[in-house]
């Protein structure tokens, strides 16, 4: 049986029945209990250890294309029934009374968490921060400021709906990040690195915090002597694992069914068509190992699944949540996610990545006479309606004569999704992933992004020197 400790099944059944009393066609209860710890070391001091708990439930009622939603932090019968009544207000008339039996139980794939964060002493968490501080400062005397942060969260969710579904999941995530400032003759530069997985404290069996700190420090140090980035269109080589965000922005968002249904995406009507270079096979997969966007069931109770979005350059499918799939008479692809019980679910990505090609990464670089080598990308942003997107570099170098030469200061690259996907002319065999936070409509969710080393024949880089 699933863990239903958040709300008893018989209470859930009554709340669902009550939510449909005014004539709703579908009702859902989403309950969540989230505990989080965060600790920050800054300027050599452990400044703050913070712990918190947020618990509550949201009730959704659907009538036609209309959704009513209400949430409450009060998980008592009274609190839940009041939320059900508020959500039901979108329904127009009194409906026949319906009884709900929760019969379709979804057993979440158990996470791989071995050491629950609440079983680890606060001292051990703090100790990681001190080690990272030393690790970063040891990288060079020009490192002037180090901030390290540790965070863990345990999110237990329960989803039940009027179709009889009852699903639960227990999601544990742990992250560690280091941010450095280095000072040189030409001013200050910053470096950042993070390790984040859907794991418990055993994350640190594999992740060495000194190494995370060292990478952040070296990133800041290398830019002290960096020249301004060029301006104009240049060939770009993305290092393995550095720039999965490119696909997240260049096409991932545009494949979300809510944008498709509203014709707010350049990928409307493109299924079955060649939308990218034949070298591109793009997957969204919430089941991969312990990546940052991995879970057992989505926030609508659908089991995590692997979805092929683009196969050898041909668009195969979009990403779906319950509402959009229902309209099209199909099943959700398991991409209904929400930030918390305070939010309505939407179509969201999970772990989105480009699969391996066949080339040798060293050869890809060697065969690029000039251009920009991106070792790490920062965030990005896309306008799905036009496909125009940007992503920022946080570690990049000039390529001259097939070799990496001088470091470059941070800059944004800008391109158009479908256009850039067609310009990928080399994909290597050294796949790697990284964590990210995806923001959409004011909601943030953890996602993974990944790709092997690859080359784009031309992207506009927004530097300041003539390209």
């Amino acid at each position: 049986m699933v863990d239903t400790a958040l709300i008893e099944p018989d209470v859930v059944e009554r709340v669902l029945a009550s939510a449909l009393r005014r004539g709703g066609e579908f009702a859902e209860v989403f309950a969540e209990d989230r505990r989080a710890t965060s600790a920050v070391l800054d300027d050599g001091r452990v400044e703050e250890l913070s712990t918190g708990r947020d618990r509550g439930a949201g009730v959704r009622v659907v009538v036609g294309e209309t959704t009513g939603y209400a949430h409450t932090a009060d998980l008592s019968d009274g609190g839940l029934l009041a939320a059900a009544e508020a959500a039901a207000a979108v329904a127009r008339q009194a409906g026949a009374s319906r009884s709900i039996a929760l019969s379709a139980v979804v057993q979440a794939r158990r996470g791989e968490m071995a050491i629950a964060p609440e079983r680890v002493s606060k001292d051990r968490k703090i100790d990681l921060l001190r080690r990272a501080d030393h690790g970063a400062r040891a990288a060079g005397s020009a490192v002037s400021q180090v901030s390290a942060s540790y965070g863990d969260s345990r999110r237990r969710v329960l989803v039940a709906n009027s179709d009889g579904l009852l699903a639960a999941d227990d999601q544990v995530r742990t992250r560690f990040s280091v941010s450095c400032v280095a000072v040189g003759d030409a001013g200050m530069q910053t470096g950042f690195e993070t390790a984040a997985f859907t794991l418990g404290f055993e994350l640190f069996d594999d992740v060495d915090v000194d190494e995370v700190a060292g990478i952040a420090a070296r990133r800041a140090l290398s830019k002290l002597t960096a020249r301004p980035a060029p301006s104009g269109e240049v060939p770009v080589v993305l290092a393995s694992g550095s720039g999965g965000i490119l696909f997240h922005e260049a096409c991932g968002h545009g494949l979300e069914a809510d944008h498709i249904v509203k014709e707010a995406s350049v990928y409307v009507g493109q299924v079955g068509r060649q939308v990218a270079s034949p070298l591109v096979t793009l997957i969204d997969d919430a089941t991969v190992g312990s990546e940052w966007g991995t879970f057992g069931v989505d926030d609508e109770g659908r089991p995590a699944q692997r979805n092929v979005l683009i196969e050898n350059g041909v668009l195969t499918d979009y990403l779906w949540d319950f509402m959009r799939a229902r309209k099209e008479g199909r099943l959700s692809s398991g991409n209904g996610r929400r930030q918390s019980y305070r939010h309505l679910p939407m179509v969201r990505m999970t772990n989105t990545f480009l699969v391996n090609g066949t080339e040798d990464p060293a050869e890809v670089l060697a065969q690029t006479p000039s251009g920009v080598y991106v070792a790490k990308l920062g965030g990005g942003q896309v306008n799905t309606a036009t496909g125009d997107f940007v992503f920022g570099t946080t570690e990049a170098y000039l390529i001259e004569g097939g070799q990496i030469t001088e470091p470059l200061r941070d800059a944004n690259l800008i391109g158009n999704g479908p256009d850039v996907l067609r310009r990928i002319d080399a994909v290597a065999d050294d796949f790697a992933m990284g964590p990210g936070t995806c923001g959409k409509d004011g909601q943030s969710v953890p996602v993974g992004c990944g790709q092997p080393t690859l080359r784009i024949t031309g992207v506009t880089i927004g530097g300041t020197t003539g390209g």
Binding site: E47, G52, G68, A83, M188, G392, N412, T460, T464
Partner: protein
């Protein structure tokens, strides 16, 4: 259409028991321990319309507590999304436990009353509580319908939203601080998509205020339609050096980034491009930057900061000279100064930090058309992307995606998309040629007006 119902919890703003609650918890401080108790609650409604009907209607009530303990020069913090007595007691115990793990820091302290009286501000509009849900729904549906019919080139309305919130909070400390505030916010926003052939563009319009009477319905429609349609036919421009004229909304976004570098905490920790530059010329003489949460016209106006001190007017840059930074109590103590009552916090789940709340650039003499006429040739930027990845408030490196319209002989000419503009924040502040007279009070930490900066690098084809 939805039937009118009453909000889930209509208690907000009706009594002052939050203050009593905060004070009762703060009075439990033991020995030399300092306690800061922040409690808040609010109700909100969000309506999204699509295709002539309600797409979603959300209504919610939430509440929470955040407790900071300072004991033996160490700070601990805990929070919970509930105001139950039992939960608050657990939260206090957690915060006390967490304090044991911090590094001793002689500068960590809570605010103490400083005798400054709070401004008399009215940031609560009773009319919001009186507005039936049915009327909120109608506003969103009407907005969507009006946008669809406003121009034949408008193909889609990807969002048409009404949103409001009524929130109250109280803070009490064992050091004698007591402060309670409440505020209402109400907004309309929409994104319209204009298309011709295979070309499409998005335009966003919004209006925000304290109550329904402040909403400018027609302006939201006009703005969204104009911004979407004027980009039709946009192409990538040729790379080169240009004068850039920023739309007021973009100026507000840029000012918010400058604000993060004006944080006294960032400066003291060597994490700001302004570190060590107090008293120096950092901008052209036309630039005067004031953070004034006591100006009622600012949507973010507030009587008290996040530590319960009365908000006040702080002049940060005057005639181009860097005059001051903003501080919370701990950052001020670390820097050897006093708080500027500039503590801000993201809600009950986070601790207060130094930040700006209501930044304003002193307006110049010219409005937008006069500025365009004066600069002659320029890129007018109506929106920017990649601000978080492309602007670094430590190094000052600046590179963002932009779309807008070329200006030739002072008039709008061809539209432009998929270009970047780049410089450094340091150079941009010294290259401002006009600060507009057209000040707009926008949501967020900064107001905006037309702003012209010369010599930026535009990357296109």
């Amino acid at each position: 259409m939805a039937e009118p119902i009453s909000p889930p919890t209509a208690r907000v703003g009706r009594d002052d028991d939050l203050q009593t609650l905060a004070a009762r918890v703060a009075s439990q401080a033991r020995g030399t321990e300092g306690l800061e108790v922040y409690v808040s609650r609010g109700v909100e409604t969000d309506v999204r319309a699509y295709d002539g009907d309600v797409e979603s209607l959300s209504s919610a009530a939430s509440a929470g507590v955040g407790i900071r303990v300072v004991d033996d020069v160490r700070q601990g913090f805990a929070y919970a999304g509930s105001l139950d007595e039992e939960v608050i007691a657990e939260t206090l115990a957690e915060a006390r436990d967490n304090a044991r793990f911090a590094t001793p820091d002689e500068h960590v302290c809570l605010a103490v009353p400083d005798g400054v009286a709070p401004a008399d501000l009215d940031v609560w509009d009773d009319a919001l509580g009186d507005l039936p849900i049915a009327d909120k729904v109608r506003l969103a549906i009407d907005l969507e319908r009006r946008l669809r019919g406003a121009d034949p080139r408008i193909r889609q309305v990807s969002s048409a939203d009404y949103g409001d919130m009524a929130a109250e909070s109280a803070i009490a400390t064992s050091t004698g601080i007591t402060a309670a505030t409440r505020r209402t916010v109400c907004s309309l926003s929409a994104a319209a998509i204009a298309g011709e052939g295979t070309d499409s563009h998005t335009g966003v319009g919004f209006s925000a205020g304290r109550g329904p009477g402040d909403l400018e319905f027609d302006a939201v429609v006009t703005d969204a339609v104009e911004r979407a349609t004027r980009l039709l036919g946009a192409t990538k421009a040729r790379s080169g050096r240009v004068t850039v004229v920023f739309d007021p909304r973009v100026t507000s976004t840029l000012l918010a980034i400058v604000a993060s570098a004006l944080s006294g905490e960032a400066v003291t920790k060597g994490r700001s491009l302004f570190a060590g530059r107090l008293g120096e010329v950092i901008a052209v003489p036309a630039i005067t930057v004031v953070d004034d949460p006591t100006d009622e016209r600012a949507l973010s106006a507030a009587c008290y900061d996040a530590e319960g001190l009365a908000c006040r007017r702080n002049v940060l840059v005057e005639d181009g000279v860097l005059e001051a930074f903003v501080f919370d109590t701990t950052a001020a103590h670390r820097a050897g100064t006093t708080s500027t009552a500039s503590a801000v916090r993201g809600g009950y789940a986070t601790t207060p930090v130094a930040g700006c709340r209501a930044l304003v650039l002193s307006p110049g003499p010219l409005d937008a058309p006069a500025i365009l006429a004066d600069v002659g040739d320029a890129l007018y930027v109506q929106s920017v992307t990649g601000v978080h990845s492309g602007v670094n408030p430590v190094s000052g490196d600046f590179s963002v995606g932009a779309e807008g319209v070329m200006v030739r002989d002072g008039l709008f000419a061809e539209p432009v998309r998929e270009v970047t503009i780049a410089s450094t924040l340091q150079r941009m502040l010294l290259s401002v040629v006009h600060v507009g007279a057209d000040l707009e009070w926008l949501p967020g930490v900064a107001a905006g007006q037309t702003l012209a900066i010369e010599g930026m690098a535009m990357s296109g084809s």
